[in-house]
């Protein structure tokens, strides 16, 4: 028995379950309650759980993310949202210098069991300040985990797993996925937040991606299949730590790789993955690794310019063909 559900509703179901099963859990961010959440994810939850556990905050990202970290230290299991990654620079100090660091810096005395959710990515014509993909920055920080659910199963299952983790876990939800529907098994539960998964088998090239780009990669793979090129799709799911084993096993089979990543190209997560493949699979690579990333420009508002800046299916197809050589 499966049900058809949107990513948004799957996320909401995950939050509801977390609040039901874990009395120490609460959700906070601006407009999470009375407004219903900036992407309507938390709609209805205020009525069910009340204003203490669905906590509207002032516009104070450093304040309330820091407060979430403190609450986690104090014994709660906060789920703090930062509306979107675009505002997370304002609380990055708290994430980097406290949440990620306090355990090691205190000699292992304190853990910070916080979950921080952020919407990420472009595609809605929200322009330069509202279209960032900075997962790579967070994936650089020791002491935290970073995950990116790309499917409704992962949207439904990752939150609970994240909440069980004793350390900070950041969940990046691509804005273009909220309206996406998918099938959810009746018993859908927690999912492994450590492992990448193959979303499509293929022998010719490993197409490695995550989050919102997964579906572009899937579409590209279909087009490529029509041309006789079989792409194996690796959905990273965990951006920190990276699941080297799954990545390398795929590349060892295909001997070729293309990485699709919505971050700006220079210093992208794609660079890290490419480097690891080069480090670990150099002798079995038949071609240089391809990257399909976002152009190095603040994302423009106009649709055609935004589209030109972001990774698109034709660019993925072209990159694969160039790597495969046909």
């Amino acid at each position: 028995m499966t049900e058809t559900i949107t990513y948004r509703d799957a996320m909401r179901a995950a939050i509801r379950e977390a609040l039901q099963k874990e009395p120490r859990a609460f959700l906070m961010v601006e407009d999470v309650g009375r407004y219903g959440g900036c992407y309507a994810v938390s709609k209805g939850l205020l009525d069910e759980f009340g204003p203490e556990r669905i906590r509207d905050t002032p516009l104070s990202e450093a304040g309330f993310v820091g407060a979430g970290i403190g609450a986690a230290l104090g014994g709660m299991r906060p789920i703090v949202e930062v509306m979107t990654v675009n505002f997370s620079m304002l609380c990055l100090d708290q994430i980097l210098n406290t949440a990620a660091t306090i355990r090691h810096m205190s000699g292992g005395q304190f853990s910070v069991p916080i979950v921080i959710r952020m919407a990420t990515g472009a595609g809605r014509q929200l322009a330069a300040q509202h279209s960032h993909s900075l997962e790579n920055w967070y994936a650089h920080i020791p002491g935290i985990r970073v995950v990116a659910p790309a499917t409704v199963e992962d949207a439904r299952g990752m939150l609970w797993s994240a909440l069980q983790d004793p350390d900070p876990v950041l969940i990046f939800e691509h804005v273009m996925l909220y309206n996406m529907t998918g099938e959810l098994g009746a018993g859908a539960g927690p999912v492994d937040i450590d492992r990448a998964v193959l979303r499509r088998p293929g022998r010719d090239v490993s197409l490695i991606t995550y989050g919102g780009s997964l579906w572009k990669a899937m579409t590209a793979a279909q087009e490529l299949a029509a041309a006789g090129i079989e792409a194996e799709i690796v959905d990273l799911r965990s951006l920190r730590p990276l699941d080297d084993a799954t990545i390398m096993a795929s590349v060892a089979r295909t001997r070729r790789a293309v990485i699709v990543d919505e971050g700006w190209r220079t210093g992208s997560l794609a660079a890290e993955i490419a480097t690891r493949i080069m480090e670990q699979c150099f002798w079995s690579l038949d071609a240089p690794i391809g990257r399909v990333c976002t152009a190095e420009v603040p994302i423009p508002y106009a649709r055609h310019l935004e589209e030109a800046a972001l990774p698109q299916v034709p660019a993925i197809v072209a990159a694969v063909r160039s790597v495969v050589g046909r």
């Binding site: 009375r34 002032p58 516009l59 929200l126 603040p298 508002y301 106009a302």
Partner: protein, 332 residues
């Protein structure tokens, strides 16, 4: 003539007509934008200023061309009142090449060098430090210019608000901080975001002079702004203006307005700054019925022209995608 008299508005027929027209330009422009949004000619986020027009228009009266303006993502009103061409503003809403930001910015990022309009900032509170810096430059360069910085009451909870207030007061910089207190930040009522809801008192805690004004009353707003700007220009340091207002429409096009009662909205609509001015001025004889009609007609034709301009403007070439990331270096 005392300073205070100098700052007083001369409510000539021409001036009142001008205020009325400026507000109506914003109102009609935005009503049209809402329509164009449903037609998908405008995309992204669209935040309407409807109901708050008296603030932008009132404050702009006090500014001179060399002054600077910093606003938020809810800035169409400020852009038009500041004198940015309606056609180029509309083209920007469309994302066209003739838009004032070449279509790169859209609704939230209207910029215009000619009128010293520095955006259009989609990070709440993000514009305040910028305003402080613009004023710092003016002061260091010995220019008697003023920077007007608009922001919502929601921004008052952000650290950047406080850092900026302190810097401006500490360095006695020529900034006019205009808080548009429309009682809500998205769905969050003021009492849910501030332990002290009397925003005015925040200014006090920086030793910054402040005034509360009825932001639905354009004459009061203009008066208060003139007085504040005059004092700033004389070297009196920054000032704070809390304008009490209300947004008649949803926060953006994605807002179901679950957080406020219809009756509350309706009650505030009764205070519409445009109708308020019209009734008052018609009664007082400072506006004639024919003015009301001719203004409506002028605005309608300006708007029609703006739409035609935006519709026919070309799209920026994709080949230029990366062109404006860096400024070309001058040859030595």
């Amino acid at each position: 003539m005392t300073k205070d008299q100098a700052a007083k508005v001369h409510l000539t027929r021409a001036h009142v007509r001008g205020l009325y027209k400026e507000m109506l330009r914003i109102r009609r422009f935005e009503e049209k934008c809402a329509e164009l949004y449903t037609q998908e000619k405008i995309r992204g986020f669209l935040h309407l200023y409807i109901g708050e027009e008296a603030i932008a228009v009132g404050v702009m009266q006090a500014l001179q061309p060399a002054d600077a303006v910093v606003a938020t993502y809810r800035e169409h009103g400020h852009a038009l009142a500041r004198g940015i061409d309606m056609s180029r503003t509309m083209a920007e809403m469309y994302g066209k090449q003739d838009g004032c930001s070449r279509g790169h910015g859209g609704s939230m990022h209207i910029f215009d060098a000619a009128t010293r309009f520095y955006g259009g900032n989609a990070i709440v509170g993000g514009g305040l430090p910028l305003a402080v810096g613009l004023a710092l430059a003016d002061k260091m360069l010995g220019r008697s210019q003023v920077t007007a910085c608009f922001f919502g009451e929601g921004a008052v909870a952000e650290g950047e608000f406080h850092e900026s207030m302190n810097l401006a007061a500490l360095w006695q910089l020529p900034v006019l901080f205009v808080c548009e207190n429309n009682l809500y930040a998205m769905g969050t009522a003021l009492a849910i975001s501030e332990s002290e809801t009397d925003i005015n008192r925040k200014a006090e805690s920086y030793r910054m002079p402040s005034t509360i004004v009825d932001g639905m009353d354009i004459v009061a707003t203009e008066n208060a702004a003139r007085r504040a700007v005059e004092a700033i220009r004389q070297g009196g340091g920054p000032a704070f203006l809390e304008c009490r207002t209300y947004r008649f429409r949803a926060h953006s096009m994605f807002d179901a307005q679950l957080y406020r009662a219809k009756a509350e909205v309706e009650a505030w609509k009764e205070k519409c700054p445009i109708e308020h001015l019209r009734k008052w001025a018609l009664d007082a004889g400072s506006l004639h019925a024919e003015d009301v009609d001719s203004v409506e007609a002028e605005v309608a034709s300006e708007l029609a022209a703006a739409i035609a301009f935006a519709d026919s403007s070309p799209w920026e070439s994709v080949a230029r995608l990366l062109d404006d990331v860096h400024t070309p270096r001058q040859q030595p």
